[in-house]
């Protein structure tokens, strides 16, 4: 995985920057669950191929497997949101910011995490409970013939992803605070 780490250019913290225990622990949780997100893509290829072979060559089709495609994709990208934050790969416009010093950028980063990311993720997390409860109460299943049951499972990916996003944002906040401390 050398290539991966190499590409991972973080615009604010470099390798030498402090990484407090709390950040490493929270990042660890996010990274562990993200292992399943990475695996998703490989499984997804297999399922798509199966569906194509089923329909084109065998003349049958399994709606549940067709639906499984977007179930997997949804899990992958939603969980990926937090993993991408951990690796600071969310795209930013740094046309001005690249000329600023690290302290200033770290402060902006703390602001972004505490005022923008965590409240947004928190609101979505909180508001998703009713949404899932409704699905669970109605025992919602696919409206398509032979589709998948238990829609609440897929819907629960929303709070899971938002929870992980909050953890990742907290980890990054802690990291930025310790960066501010040592560079004082």
């Amino acid at each position: 995985m050398s290539r991966l780490i190499e590409d991972d250019h973080d615009s604010i913290v470099d390798e030498a920057a402090p990484n407090p225990l709390i950040s490493r622990a929270l990042d660890g949780v996010v990274s562990f669950i993200s292992l399943f997100a990475h695996a998703t893509w490989i499984i997804l290829i297999g399922i798509i191929l199966t569906n194509v072979v089923m329909r084109y060559f065998l003349g049958g089709s399994i709606v549940a497997l067709e639906e499984l495609q977007w179930h997997l994709y949804a899990f992958g990208f939603m969980v990926g949101l937090s993993y991408t934050l951990v690796h600071d790969q969310h795209v930013r416009v740094d046309v001005l910011a690249e000329h600023w010093n690290k302290r200033r950028r770290a402060k902006i980063e703390i602001f972004a995490m505490l005022v923008l990311v965590i409240p947004f993720a928190g609101v979505i997390l909180f508001d998703s409970f009713d949404f899932i409860e409704f699905s669970l109460r109605l025992n919602e299943r696919s409206r398509s013939p032979g589709g998948l049951p238990y829609r609440w499972i897929l819907k629960s990916v929303i709070p899971l992803a938002m929870g992980l996003l909050i953890l990742a944002a907290l980890a990054r906040t802690a990291r930025m605070i310790s960066l501010l401390r040592i560079s004082r």
Binding site: W41, I45, Y56, W70, G80, L116, F131
Partner: protein, 455 residues
């Protein structure tokens, strides 16, 4: 104040706030999402405490709709193609074959000067015809071509510009998700729209090629020829041919499975991802480590694109609740010019909106408003949608909110700065506008092919 109602002032505040966050270097996704939340809170406070008129946004439940909108994205079966094409691109990169392709192009086309940039346009057109997922095309082109162009001493701006512009062709050249959604919005035939988009799409690609040739002829330092050009030999041609074969086979597999009815474009993405993996295996580059690395990077790339999707959907929801679209509608009604004047103004607004909004939001909000108006003026709906699509395509490459620019920045080596990207794209924006104008005044560019095919 300026004749604007409170809700309209809030719309303007949203724009200002978002651009503010954006330029302090806050990631695009969080700038959009955070702005939507802060403005929502402010709006509801103004509404409940000071009884300010805030149109359809007057209750917290209006914000909660975002949960359903996120779920609708999760449920969107067509978007499954996005991570698959990203996977294909990253695997192609790991397989060493794409690099080989770019290198052999540089050896043959390199003697013309600007050969690599031309190769990017050509590969861009091929990708456009197979994917239509702009994020994936830009990322793929950037990964395989930017390091090689930089190494060859290309001007960073030219390199960035040509990648962002060529990678955006896929939204227009069919198959195209944008045209599918537009057909759905205005109840038009997808097939006619696809046919109508072919000539303008190729015209754009051709214009990019011509631009590269002229720019490099005028300033050869933009794209230096490789230092030690190999003497011409048939061997070289053969090598190039052999290098082109595997990626070409892959593109053919993707396109072929679509055209021979084996798979839908969405499924073809999975076939492409598998095909790239197979090629890496045949080229003896595939290992468990490579497979896993590609999977991990697919997560990173896919998630940054969807982060922006989620931010944009939250932003558009609040903006719409505050009557942002009515503001546009009112402005349109105030246009005094004749029929062509109205079309040009609509296109100009679409272009302007494209600086800040993403094509999906513009298509969903703006197109249903203006489409019927234009058709009522007696214009061909197919022609109008295509002109509108080309104008919207420009939104991908206009700063500050240009999705192709974000994708490019996300995938480019660190030495390419946002400033390089912004400056490099300017000529391509101008070309794009020229093409829009030529379609406006030469409608046959759009209408000829659908008439030939469907009568």
């Amino acid at each position: 104040m300026l004749g604007l109602a409170a809700n309209e002032l809030l719309v303007l505040l949203m724009l200002v706030m978002f651009i503010g966050f954006l330029f302090t270097g806050v990631p695009v996704a969080w700038s959009l999402a955070g702005t939507s939340l802060l403005v929502a809170i402010l709006t509801l406070q103004l509404n409940s405490r000071f009884e300010v008129e805030t149109l359809f946004f007057d209750d917290w439940r209006d914000y909660r709709i975002i949960v359903q909108r996120i779920y609708a994205t999760m449920e969107n079966a067509v978007l499954v193609a996005l991570p698959m094409f990203v996977f294909m691109g990253l695997m192609l990169d790991q397989s060493g074959l794409a690099e080989k392709l770019m290198r052999s192009f540089s050896e043959t086309l390199g003697r013309v000067g600007g050969g690599l940039a031309m190769a990017v346009v050509l590969i861009g057109i091929l990708l456009a015809a197979s994917t239509g997922i702009v994020g994936a095309s830009v990322v793929l082109l950037a990964t395989i071509s930017l390091p090689i162009m930089l190494e060859a001493g290309y001007d960073k701006r030219l390199a960035a510009g040509v990648v962002a512009a060529s990678g955006t062709l896929g939204i227009l050249i069919p198959p195209s998700i944008m045209l599918i959604i537009m057909a759905d919005q205005l109840s038009l035939s997808v097939g006619e729209l696809f046919m109508g988009a072919v000539v303008p799409g190729l015209l754009l690609g051709l214009a990019y090629l011509i631009y590269v040739v002229i720019a490099v002829a005028l300033r050869p330092s933009l794209a230096p020829k490789p230092k030690n050009v190999l003497p011409f030999s048939w061997r070289l041609i053969l090598d190039t041919f052999l290098a082109v074969l595997p990626p070409l086979a892959l593109i053919l597999a993707v396109l072929g499975s679509i055209f021979f009815g084996i798979a839908t474009p969405t499924e073809a993405s999975g076939i492409g991802a598998f095909g790239a993996t197979l090629l890496a295996f045949l080229n003896r580059r595939l290992s468990l480590e490579v497979l896993w690395t590609v999977a991990v990077r697919t997560t990173l790339t896919t998630a940054f694109i969807f982060g922006i999707f989620i931010g944009a959907t939250a932003f558009a929801l609040v903006m719409r609740g505050l009557g942002g679209d009515q503001l546009i509608e009112r402005a349109l009604e105030a246009i005094p010019f004749g029929a062509t004047g109205v079309v040009l103004t609509v296109l100009f607004f679409a272009f302007l909106a494209g600086f800040f909004l993403d094509w999906l939001e513009i298509t969903l909000i703006f197109l249903p408003l203006v489409g019927p108006v234009i058709v009522a003026l007696g214009f061909d709906p197919i022609w109008f949608v295509i002109v509108f699509a080309v104008a919207l395509q420009t939104s991908f490459i206009t700063p500050p909110v240009g999705f192709s620019l974000f994708y490019l920045k996300g995938a480019a080596p660190p030495e390419i700065t946002t400033g390089d990207v912004y400056r490099g794209i300017v000529p391509f924006v101008i070309i794009q506008l020229a093409v829009v104008l030529s379609i406006v005044f030469l409608p046959a560019l759009v209408t000829w092919l659908p008439t030939m095919v469907y009568g």
